[in-house]
Amino acid sequence: MTTTVAAVSEETGTPYTLSHLDALESEAVHIFREVAGEFERPVILFSGGKDSIVMLHLALKAFAPAAVPFTLLHVDTGHNFPEVIEYRDRTVAQHNLRLHVASVQDYIDRGVLKERPDGTRNPLQTVPLTEKIQAEKFDAVFGGGRRDEEKARAKERVFSLRDEFSQWDPRRQRPELWNLYNGRHAPGEHVRVFPLSNWTELDVWQYIAREGIELPEIYFAHERDVFQRAGMWLTAGEWGGPKDGETVEKRLIRYRTVGDMSCTGAVDSEATTLDAVIAEIAASRLTERGATRADDKMSEAAMEDRKREGYF
């Protein structure tokens, strides 16, 4: 919990310069507090993935020593890694938070949604998420999205207005000036809020290391039964793999991002500690999503299309 004061500025000799992590942390805390001050029913999307873990950590710091004035929401695809679900439940209990779950499996069981032939459930999250937001009347929904992740996200606002269908209209997004966020919305509309907008993957990892935040074990190197599909190492399991012609092998891998088992690929890695992970990322020549997310590769405009439909 140390604040890094960057090297004394050569210009003024003043030590009053924040390190980049402190600047990003302060900005994110400011965003959390703005939402707490201006919205009735905010909720944090919490999956047990590293970005949502960092979001929760920042929210806890923003309101200390008081409790976080938000509930949590997880859109459960039904194909999540058990280690991550276990982490999610433990964290919720530890901080005495309330968790809402929107379940893709429920929708499939009820016949509202259909399983895709490729077994990928990420695109199926949109309807359960949207309906849960409407049912619970959430007016601000925190997401861990970062603008460095993907080209369409480079233009995303910190406060992103969504209509009652959760749709994102790039032409209705408001200019964001200084740090004066505008959260006004009509009844039935809500605002998606991205406190980590200006963070990069490396910033997130450095912050996790600096703050000593515990993560699910799948982020670190471990031996796992995986098979190759579309150039990615996927975890073997009941969700739909391996299929004919795909062979399972035991490899030393870790996950850089955590999502649905069906579309989250692992990378070969020997990094068992945070420092080793950071060194690996700093040296890596592949972007986070490019290496590990099949769903973003569908088409050049895939992310843009899904955002319009109400995806994160």
Binding site: M1, T3, A6, A7, E10, E11, T12, T14, Y16, T17, L18, S19, H20, L21, A23, L24, E25, S26, E27, V29, H30, R33, E34, G37, K61, A62, F63, A64, P65, A66, R147, K151, A154, K155, P170, R174, P175, L177, W178, N179, L180, N182, H185, A186, S197, N198, T200, L202, Q206, A209, R210, I278, A279, A282, R285, L286, T287, G290, E300, E304
Partner: protein, 444 residues
Amino acid sequence: MSTITAEELSATTLLRFATAGSVDDGKSTLVGRLLHDSKSVLTDQLEAVERVSASRGQEGPDLALLTDGLRAEREQGITIDVAYRYFATVRRRFILADTPGHVQYTRNMVTGASTAELTVILVDARNGVVEQTRRHAAIAALLRVPHVVLAVNKMDLVGYEEKVFAAIAEEFTAYASELGVPEITSIPISALAGDNVVEPSANMDWYGGPTFLEHLESVPVSHDLAHCHARLPVQYVVRPQTAEHPDYRGYAGQIAAGTFRVGDPVTVLPSGRATKVTGIDLLGKPVEVAYTPQSVTLLLEDDIDISRGDLIVPSKDAPATTQDIEATVCHVADQPLTVGHRVLLKHGTRTVKAIVKDIPSRLTLDDLSLHPHPGQLVANDIGRVKIRTAEALPVDSYADSRRTGSFILIDPADGTTLTAGMVGESFASPEPVKDESEDDGWDF
């Protein structure tokens, strides 16, 4: 990149900067080159660019493609909004607000410049300072961006001639200084060939200055806080009301300017009640002193009524409160702003009802001429407005404080952000006079 240790990575500072320039000036290529040569472009991104470039029959990778995000842009080959890019070197982390430079996109430039410590203005060496360059300089001056870089691009097309560069740099510097831009650096580059972007140019040994990236890495990002008015807009009142903290009352906010210390006598506006800082919580950790832009929680001696929207200031340095605000604005919405318009005004953490009383003038950025009483402002117009607010606000002049001297106007009907406002005079005086006698004994 791979040689950076975790230690080195965590001790860098952050620079927010913005670009201005049009497609024709090669701005996308400059940004692409910056990302590419600073090794910030990753393998899969570059592969995607090479794929698209090849399918269009282009010879090499078109670096401009790295930065064109939305489908509409890819189809039209233009950029239509502010896009944010991220890259890092050993010395610094960068956030780039990449804004298009067409005349109809003034509002995007204003948006990008509002959070920038530095603005890059790009010119084509063959054309020199044109109308658009003057517009960009005026916006940087209006937004009081501390540092401006003039990047004279396409030097390869003028034979890398020092004379050409020197003439453009001189003309621009004279113009921008006149507008009160405090710090101007001119750099001759070729984004296409890579001269002086990241690597020093072998073609311009007459130029002894830093490359574009070196300048970005070394420009100061900290300010002399001793001469700033301390300001804390209260965002939220932290009241745990638990057995462990039965009486804790903290006032949470991000310090908008200056520094606060434990023991400081402070006044809460608009009520005017005076008290003293008894503690500062820096995200759960007690500290003796805190400064902008830290997010903190202040503890005060007296149990006075303070809520979101209030402003905590040093008792000896409180701004006047007023219901009549005169400001320079940039109109950012498609619907016009008219005299008599009923709006909401957000200043710091307070939002109040307001009426547009008068629009004394509209400013033409090309030649800085004023058009009296335009009656309304339309999208991308810059003008002077007089606003009457329903409640008194403690506003600073934008020249003194970018955070507490700025505001936005919001349409109460649909929540649209209408206008960006800057309190006080439009342009700084070209030769700022530092009055040292104002210094009443800050003991730093």
